[in-house]
Symmetry: C2
Subunit: 333 residues, 2 copies
Amino acid sequence: MKKISLIIVGFGVIGAGFARILHEKKDYLRDLGLEYKVVAVCEKEGSIISDEGIDLGDVLRLADGKKLAQHSGWTKKKSMQVLDEVKADIVLELTPGDVKRGEPGYGHIKKALSGGMHVVTSNKSPIALHYGELKRLAEENNLKLRYEAAVGGAIPLLNLRDKCLKINEIKSVYGILNGTTNYVLSKMVEEGISLENALDEARELGIAESDPSYDIDGLDTALKVVILANNLLGRDVSFEDIRVQGIRDITSEAVQLAIKHGYVIKLIGDVGRGEVSPRLIPVEHPLNVSGSLNAVLLDSDVAGELTLIGYGAGARQTASSIFSDLTEVTQFV
Amino acid sequence: MKKISLIIVGFGVIGAGFARILHEKKDYLRDLGLEYKVVAVCEKEGSIISDEGIDLGDVLRLADGKKLAQHSGWTKKKSMQVLDEVKADIVLELTPGDVKRGEPGYGHIKKALSGGMHVVTSNKSPIALHYGELKRLAEENNLKLRYEAAVGGAIPLLNLRDKCLKINEIKSVYGILNGTTNYVLSKMVEEGISLENALDEARELGIAESDPSYDIDGLDTALKVVILANNLLGRDVSFEDIRVQGIRDITSEAVQLAIKHGYVIKLIGDVGRGEVSPRLIPVEHPLNVSGSLNAVLLDSDVAGELTLIGYGAGARQTASSIFSDLTEVTQFV
């Protein structure tokens, strides 16, 4: 049995979702010869620390009622201090990122790597905004930094290339990388409603934030385009290099006119061209997926075109990608 | 630089296709730290053997003109004798399989594993018909036996589960696993023609064999269903367990009636149910792919539904999956 210690930084939707699967799948992982022990859980107000390993069942129950501070291991120490003081094999950086500076994930990842800990993250901003620096830092310290969950939710893209398409050079990558905009555009097609009304529906279902500009204006897709360009295409691309046009100006009339001619309008991240823009997609094209699905088309020199469709978000679905990285990194512990 | 010796058994479309990519990508593989040396190439009439490694450029030129016997290393020794006499790290079993007994692949794989060599194969019949025995033989000898290319051509399914969906239990798998039938059914939709006429077109393009029963009657799909059931769902399924209905009786009228109601008819391999049958699929469903594409829907307990669409056949595309296995197995050499 291989024993691996973890620090979970960020215990919101993604962090708690990961912890729930880790808890649920304890026996399944044991059958694979893997025993994970969580030695710290950090959130905004403080942290829970336990050298012997934290019972995730307890923590999840307390987190549901927003009562983490009632845990016996609770301390007011913040994440950065915990990453200094507590040692683990792997840090899971699962906080939401700020699109301007990539904080607090950027600081967490640097601190973890400098402290000799591997990092698995679902946080796209630090990877998109500080790719070169973080990659170098990991390499210099002979550590792994992996971020499958930062792009495409449950759809394997980075590990797919590394593990399943090894002989291939990826020639192009494009697709629907944001579930919120796809939900809104699909609703506009299906119900003939305006963008504003579709957004209201999405907000009610928790698919869109109260301020949805980050999704609607294409910024979320652009961050993912940066990550895919650097990782899959081996480019050296910055956020500023991406031309971004969102879907804010798409009218109900435009959507209906497109349908009349056999097309749908989709917000497409075109990784090769470094572009995010609404595009006309034939109704029967594999990228015409509805609801909050994501769909990505990879073209490579040996396998040819490969399309992947799956859930681009959701706590549970994202955990699938986090675990894909985690079990991979575990080999290097 | 890791040096790995290979024996290629079978030098038809798939074998030569693999060799072509290996030749083409020599430098690319060197950059990955991998140097593959082919010490034997076996085909029906005899073999080429060279301890120092065979120049694949030469062999491919001769194979194009069906003049392999002119090669300086040519011998009349057949594959079974070569597998006895020549030692290599990995055997690539790339012959076509016979659907009744799985020969000659079955014999090749047993001989290779018994002789202490790992096996990578594109050959579905031996794996579908003798799964338990071959799996046991590999395990007893502490060797790897991998067969990604046997199912779904370039679409990663087995390695995808192993490498990218590790935390998931696969709940169901179904889809289009045979490119020939999908080409025929797509043509019937698009051109309103009969099955026979669509088959004639497919034959002209080399997509269908002169006797297409193996595809049309669903046997090819059934073999793949067996492999996926055993591998992805952990079942213990035999070829005889699969209920198989092909597309021979699908009329042009049935296809047109389906379209009128928003459906297409597709030959679906349903792995969970152990069934191959023509089914109605909504026009906008991700499994409605046209031409000779394959499309597979995996449902798993964490990632949720994931759809993969890609080339189910083709020498070059299949080589992508063979290399995915080869680089994986190389780690164990």
